[in-house]
């Protein structure tokens, strides 16, 4: 789950990283009350989860006289379609230099990897394309508590030592907060020291509980409902509902739908060992989306009992036609049960997907 800037900065602060003085407000009236705490020149920043927020008009420069107007403007605005519910007013820093730093996981080496650039700011992705050598990269064993000093020196070269210390603190945030990504862009030097001017933190969804995060905000209502039942569920813009078991088989079913000229409306991965009630619930959830004209159930595995699955589909009894491809234990019984209630059960994935696409054609 992605944290908002002010949430990430709060965690950075707890790990000793300097962040600008700021106040979080939820309407412009509060701005009037709090401005004095922040100081004459401020940056007014919409707290929305969109990339390229600055370029989209979500960050405004202001002073004591104009800050309230700026805040009012942001509350009235949508940034890339997202309504602004909270605004962070921060002191404007006396910036000497901007750097870029991020820490993530390198899948090939299975190690943490730190990326650093002497030129931070909004154009970092452009830099990555046009001048990739400007971005330096180090990775090291995850068994260490600190980034080795020689690697920090290799990474930051001529930048002040305090920049290296801040990067090491960011590594502590990365480890202790179960982050998939910890990023500061820009990391700035000022006469008062080194600051994280912006902050980005993505927490591993598998670690939300131990990070004491109760609700995963990145999910929609149906997605959250699905997650509560241990399904993974995603909405798309076609008309075929897809139920599969396992991410790979489910994805492959989507690919096959496109291969035969159809489009999926959503997909749900029921995971392992689907019993009657889980199948029933999965079918109901997928059918709940108004765009769904036909549902394909593609389940395969050793522990999946086909008779259970068949009963679940029948109990759900949704309006849309359900096309079934099942392979597993009690395959024959499952087929008989389904046939008795007028459902089609097909022998292969290709046949089942073709049949579903024909319904929507």
């Amino acid at each position: 789950m992605k944290l908002l800037e002010f949430e990430a900065k709060e965690l950075f602060k707890q790990h000793g990283i300097q962040v600008p003085r700021g106040v979080l407000i939820s309407d412009h009236e509060e701005a009037v009350l709090n401005l004095r705490k922040v100081g004459p020149n401020v940056v007014v920043k919409a707290q929305v989860d969109v990339g390229g927020r600055g370029k989209a008009g979500g960050v405004l420069m202001a002073d004591t006289d104009t800050a309230v107007i700026a805040a009012r403007e942001l509350f009235a605005r949508e940034i890339k379609g997202v309504k602004v519910a909270r605004v962070l007013i921060e002191e404007r820093l006396d910036i000497q230099h901007e750097y870029y730093v991020s820490i993530t996981i390198d899948r090939s080496t299975k190690h943490p990897v730190v990326l650093f650039a002497d030129t931070g700011g909004v154009n970092i992705e452009e830099t990555a394309k046009t001048n990739p050598d400007a971005i330096r990269k180090v990775s090291f064993t995850p068994l260490l508590r600190n980034i080795p000093r020689f690697l920090l020196r290799e990474l930051i070269r001529d930048a002040p030592a305090e920049v290296g210390e801040t990067i090491n603190k960011l590594y502590h945030v990365f480890c202790d907060r179960d982050a998939l990504l910890a990023e500061i862009n820009p990391l700035v030097t000022t006469p008062q020291g080194v600051y994280a001017a912006d902050a980005k933190l993505i927490i591993d969804d598998n670690a939300l509980a131990r990070q004491e995060i109760a609700v995963n905000r990145d999910l929609t209502r149906r997605e959250r409902e699905a997650e509560r039942h241990g399904f993974s569920y995603v909405e798309l813009d076609g008309s075929i509902g897809v139920i599969g078991n396992g991410a790979g088989l489910t994805m492959s079913t989507l690919d096959l739908i496109e291969h035969f000229g159809g489009k999926a409306a959503n997909f749900l991965d029921v995971g392992g060992g689907a019993d009657k009630d889980r199948v029933k619930y999965a079918v109901e959830l997928v059918a709940d989306m108004p765009d769904v004209k036909v549902i394909i159930v593609n389940l395969l595995g050793g522990i999946t009992r086909c008779d259970e699955v068949a009963r679940g589909i029948i109990e759900a009894g949704v309006e849309q036609p359900v096309i079934v491809r099942l392979a597993g234990t009690n395959e024959k019984e499952g087929k008989e049960i389904l046939a008795g209630h007028g459902y089609q059960m097909l022998g292969s994935m290709d046949e089942a997907v073709k049949a579903a696409v024909e319904v929507t054609a």
Binding site: R107, H111, D178, N206, L236, S252, D255, G301
Partner: protein
Amino acid sequence: MIYGDKDTGVIVQGATGKQGSFHINLMNEYARSVGGRGVVAGVTPGKGGREVCGVPVYDTVKEALAEHDATSSVLFVPAGAAGDSIMEGAHAGLDLIVAVTEHIPVHDAMKAIGYAETMGCTVIGPNCPGLLSPGELKLGIMPAHLSSRGHVGVVSRSGTLTYEVVDELTRAGIGQSTVVGIGGDPVIGQTFADTLARFEEDPQTKAVVLIGEVGGNLEEEGVKSTDLPIAAYIAGVTAPPNKRMGHAGAIIAGGEGDAKSKIQRLKAMGVDVASRPSEIPGIIKRLL
């Protein structure tokens, strides 16, 4: 055979849970049918002295290894404790740990796999179905009835998609040497390159089916590392792109990772890429 054979002694970590006990039964049924040793002991902290499915249970891997001759474990420990259990197994001297558990926090997986490496222990998974060498050894949860013995290796990041492909191969009369599910998580122990290196050393394996997914470039690295003929299938051509990784993801990936460009790169390396699973047996027949 890669990773093990009939004589491999197996421990199950997380033996007394629902999944653990269910699969001890299935693994031992399979071992009996092929004349193998199968699961010789289980481990669950606090449950030592019991028995599950006819197998003695110990509190620690160390205690189990003191009483039984085993080199491998299959791990069903719940996600929160699984990282620690991998380290316990590696520390006690196991050669191979197959981590079936899903939803392990990625930092735990990274540390546990890193630690296992320093102890000389091989980890398959996490979030994987394990491996099956037809006629020899089953470590994990793969349905054995779909497979048949032969000369094609299968290595895959996805569980059920592997069963799909194995089923297609068997129906087409193509047997498998070993089928390995390496797991779908961002950090996994054995990668495509590691498993392909084992297939290359294995006289029984004449060709390999590689089943990949969107994300990363482990597939390309694997292909680069071997001379074996490969039929590949990549799932996720139509998957919605995951934009959540922001700058670092884009910089690291640098345009790599999505299924379409991955397929292009594999084809450029001379790999036969199937556009759907049912095409795989045809490609393999041409390659053999």
